[in-house]
């Protein structure tokens, strides 16, 4: 069944965004969008108000009548209504969870992965071996007031006392939910199945306990799905019920409301699977930076809770250090003056860079925020230990450091950026350059930005499971993702290996869509941009003897690559990028790289 029109909203903490997707000339396209302030807080305290306001903007623009008597008209006719209405939400601070596991780097980490994957913010990880004394843990749990808790620990059939001990700590703390005083806090138990009865006895009366399959039934395998699904269910049943107006909103939607990052994650997971590619997605916001990745078929999400471009901009400075920010700034500035300027952005987060200098500073900080968030992501997105090798006790307890990161930049096919600083950069070249400088892709990598951050809405659309239109909804999500959601910036090509200044690191022969042939010789530390549309371009890439472009050192690659609004970017800088420490040389390098991409207006 063709869906004539689809309405999707995303209720963010400050803005509610609505998009209308319509079936036009045989394909699904984004046709109109509108937005309005979110109305979760006083004086409205009803999320549906903001939703209706955003939809009204869509109505005005499209001329299609969607609302009647404060309700969404469904199904669609020629001139009114929609066939499906869906929504995501991160209003009121999103979903905030605490997770607990016996061993921090094992069940604790698995629980964290499940919670993050479901789209939540993980406030803390309580573990038997986290170095805190029981009373410190209890104090912390009392202070936190999460929306829900995920408790795990022990392999199936293993020792039960450790996980029960954790439950006793929880019971002693008697945690209270964040919203509403009159309901019990939801707790999911996903640990050793042998301990279920004891857990029920310890916690059953005090909290709203749900028991699901063990998150780590054996050391070698994670089983995140049951926990993730249960988190989504409880998010709908409990958390959303407490948020103002959500009961009404839930009665309007054709699919469960998903936490915004959970929806983005599921879309990225689906794209990676359907197209058999590896993907990294990033959403850099004012307060947090979310990173999603799919490598080796495994999905991972991390939230860098205090790395953002406004509310937590000073934390980027604190974590990266002033020198790391300054290395990207292409002019000299007094350090005290710079920190005051950044501090002022934190306390007045809605301001925009008016001068070019301010833009330089903001984009320099963005590079560091992205770099640090990605570093955290790489450390978290690791394989489970002991899977294909003999496990010893020592590495069984030290998963993070010895588990190898799944993130391999040479394997990365698509890098997608979103969030104000990337999506709204005055020039797309700036978005591409920020992505390259901070993620440092290797080999051949496509770059894109989600210009209006539609991924959350498309994520829920891809998850509509009503029989009559589930399959069509997924088709619509994919079509819109490719045609309207992503702005293709182009492809970054980076040979990696050892080379000296002045060395030719690669030659490239390109056959452009119009038949033109371009041959390019590339020298170490050089950036070259070739204008090219988002169409297949036949490329023959010959790296130098020690350089690797994806097929091994010195191995040639013949493939189709794609341009985009920026084009094909040959980035022959080292990995990691080497910025000269000498102030004059540094400025010279920054200016030369920048001008190769036509990144900023001429001063």
């Amino acid at each position: 069944m063709v869906l004539k029109s689809i309405l999707a909203t995303d209720c963010g903490s400050t803005t509610t965004k609505a998009v209308l997707i319509e079936h036009v000339s045989g394909e699904y396209r984004l046709t109109y969008r509108g937005e309005a302030p979110t109305t979760v807080e006083a004086p409205f305290e009803d999320v549906t108000r903001g939703v209706l306001n955003a939809v009204m903007e869509v109505e005005e623009l499209s001329g299609r009548k969607i609302i009647d008597n404060d309700k969404i008209i469904s199904p669609a006719s020629e001139t009114s209504g929609v066939d499906i209405y869906i929504s995501t939400s991160s209003a009121g601070g999103g979903l905030q969870m605490m997770v607990a596991g016996v061993v921090k780097s094992m069940s604790g980490e698995s629980a964290e992965r499940a919670a993050l994957g479901a789209g939540s913010i993980v406030m803390d990880i309580i573990a038997s071996n986290d170095g805190r004394l029981p009373h410190e843990k209890i104090k912390r749990i009392r202070e936190l007031r999460p929306d829900m808790i995920l408790l795990s620990g022990g392999i199936d059939g293993g020792t039960i006392s450790h996980v029960v001990e954790l439950a006793e700590i929880l019971a002693a703390a008697n945690p209270q939910p964040r919203l509403g005083q009159d309901y019990k806090l939801p707790v999911i138990y996903a640990g050793n199945n042998k301990a279920q009865a004891d857990i029920r006895e310890t916690l059953g009366e005090m909290v709203d306990l749900d028991i699901v399959e063990n998150i780590r039934p054996v050391l070698e395998r994670e089983n995140l799905e049951p926990s993730r699904d249960k988190i989504h269910d409880l998010f709908m049943e409990h958390v959303m019920q407490q948020a103002p107006g959500y009961k009404k909103l839930m009665s309007w939607t054709d699919a469960p409301i998903m936490p915004t990052p959970g929806a983005v994650g599921s879309l990225i997971e689906m794209i990676a699977e359907k197209e058999d590619i590896t993907v990294v997605g990033v959403d850099i916001g004012g307060a947090t930076t979310d990173i999603f990745s799919v490598f080796q078929g495994k999905f991972n999400r991390t939230v860098s809770a205090n790395l953002g471009m406004s509310y937590s901009i000073c934390n980027v400075l604190a974590e990266s250090g002033l020198d790391n920010v300054l290395r990207w700034v292409p002019f000299d500035i007094d350090r005290r003056e710079l920190t005051n300027r950044i501090g002022n952005k934190m306390i007045r987060p809605t301001t925009v860079p008016q001068s070019l200098e301010e833009l330089f500073i903001e984009q320099s900080i963005a590079r560091e925020a992205l770099r640090l968030s990605f570093k955290q992501h790489k450390e978290f997105a690791v394989g489970l230990k002991g899977v294909q090798k003999e496990r010893t006790i020592s590495d069984a307890f030290d998963q993070t450091t010895s588990g190898e990161s799944l993130v391999n930049m040479m394997d990365l096919d698509l890098l997608v950026g979103s969030g104000g600083v990337l999506s709204h950069a005055p020039r797309r070249q700036q978005s591409a350059k920020m992505l390259i400088d901070s993620f440092m892709p290797e080999g051949i990598t496509q770059l894109a930005v989600d210009s209006i951050f539609m991924m959350p809405q498309l994520g829920v659309l891809a998850h509509v499971d009503k029989k009559e239109f589930g399959e069509e909804a997924r088709k619509a999500a994919l079509e819109v993702f490719h045609k309207d959601c992503l702005i293709r910036l182009g492809t970054c090509i980076t040979p990696v290996g050892r080379s000296k200044a002045g060395d030719v690191v690669m030659t490239a022969e390109l056959e452009m869509p119009d038949g033109d042939k371009i041959e390019q010789q590339l020298v170490k530390d050089q950036i070259i941009k070739i204008d090219a549309p988002y169409e297949p371009i036949s490329a023959f890439l010959k790296p130098a003897k020690n350089m690797d472009i994806g097929a091994g050192a010195g191995e040639e690659v013949k493939t189709d690559i794609y341009g985009g609004t920026v084009g094909i970017i040959f980035d022959c800088r080292d990995r990691p990028i080497n910025i000269p420490s000498d102030p004059e040389k540094r400025l010279e390098s920054l200016r030369s790289w920048s001008s190769a991409l036509n990144e900023y207006p001429k001063e």
């Binding site: 005051n340 002022n344 301001t351």
Partner: protein
């Protein structure tokens, strides 16, 4: 007329300030509706559950957890004093007995034969909530607290550190552009809320702390220096829980910035009045700005109590402050609000306002303007 939503800081000669004063958990409310209260009056109190100690009895006595009930000398609900024996083994032929003693005074909350540990809870911790600001109890929230209404002058700062303080207000500098110098702070300011002009140095702030000054209201402070005061780099603007003797309320921003004329004049008008201040700041959804509340003497309450709080946006003629470089800190009047997007030097396309400052017109993105709400 063109109109744009712009957040602004309040600088109000008169406002009916309402403050919820509630307990962290349910308890007892001491005041009833209509009661007059002073800032220091206790309005509600409760007992927080005591701290918890977990005693690993089975581990300490080297027995199986399931055997714990055999050797326990107490049961759930019993009260024990620190040092009391709570478990003892039979020993060998009645000799070589081992025991476990209570590490704290409290009650036995639970005993587990799975983990072999007992949970002890100490005596409840009393918590009191005071009125914070003088006024009248306008509402009682049963078992939770009260709402205090206060007819007051009300000023918001942009950023603060330190929690609630109170004291007599003393304006120290003559001009709003004067720096609050270290030498101008002395013993007579102990227990007071002092007001300076454009800037206070780290050294001067430290001296105020040494002299137990209750609070400082100032135009600007260096972001760089916060680390020295707090002991850590402030990464996220969520403050108020710092353990500081002297609360700091910055009215304009980081750097050396003249205090706005209206703020400075208002505070000067109330020199010598008793005020309540709170440095708590939260710059996220549900914004909290630091505040200065000056309960008004009946004589000072204006007859016309119109408040400006209903105004949500800037319009032609609005008084605004520019809050980002390159014109940071300048105050001017909005000439007009053109509807078309305009390209800035950074090439950002934005909606702008034409702002007149000292007979000169500046084009400024609307989102870089802050409305001065005054009355």
């Amino acid at each position: 007329m063109a109109h744009a939503y712009t957040p602004g800081l309040k600088v109000l000669h008169y406002s009916n300030v309402k403050k919820d004063r509630t307990l962290p958990i349910k308890g007892q409310v001491n005041k009833k509706k209509g009661d007059l209260v002073n800032a220091n009056d206790v309005v509600a109190k409760t007992d927080l559950p005591g701290n918890v100690s977990m005693v690993k009895v089975a581990n300490l006595l080297n027995i199986a957890p399931s055997d714990i009930s055999d050797i326990l000398m107490v049961k759930e609900g019993d009260s024990v004093n620190k040092g009391d024996m709570i478990a003892q083994t039979d020993g060998l032929f009645g000799l070589f007995k081992s025991d476990v003693r209570a590490p704290v005074s409290g009650t036995i909350e639970s005993v587990s034969d799975v983990t072999g540990q007992i949970v002890m809870r100490e005596a409840p911790i009393p918590v009191e909530v005071d009125a914070y600001v003088g006024g009248v109890v306008s509402e009682v929230i049963e078992n939770e607290g009260v709402t205090i209404s206060s007819e007051a002058a009300y000023v918001q700062g942009i950023f603060g550190i330190g929690g609630e303080s109170r004291g007599v207000l003393e304006v120290i500098t003559n001009e709003r552009g004067d720096e609050l110098l270290i030498d101008s702070i002395n013993e007579s300011h102990t227990g007071k809320i002092i007001v300076g002009g454009s800037f206070i140095s780290l050294e001067a702030f430290k001296k105020a702390i040494d002299l137990n000054v209750e609070g400082i209201v100032i135009g600007g402070f260096n972001y760089f220096d916060l680390e020295d005061v707090l002991g850590y780099t402030l990464g996220v603007a969520i403050t108020g829980t710092e353990d500081l003797v002297t609360s700091l309320i910055v009215t304009e921003g980081y750097g050396n910035i003249k205090m706005s004329e209206r703020t400075f004049d208002l505070l000067k008008n109330h020199n010598g009045d008793f005020v309540s201040v709170n440095g708590a700041t939260q710059i996220r959804a549900g914004v909290i700005r630091p505040e200065i509340i000056i309960p008004l003497d009946k004589k000072k309450i204006p007859e016309d109590k119109n408040q400006t709080e209903g105004i949500l946006g800037i319009q032609q003629g609005s008084l605004v402050r520019i809050i980002r470089a390159p014109y940071f800190g300048k105050i001017g009047e909005v000439l007009d609000l053109p509807s078309e997007l305009q390209k800035m030097e950074s090439e950002t396309m934005v909606r702008v306002a034409n702002v007149q400052i000292n007979d000169e017109t500046f084009i400024v993105p609307r989102s870089n303007l802050e409305m001065l709400e005054t009355y």
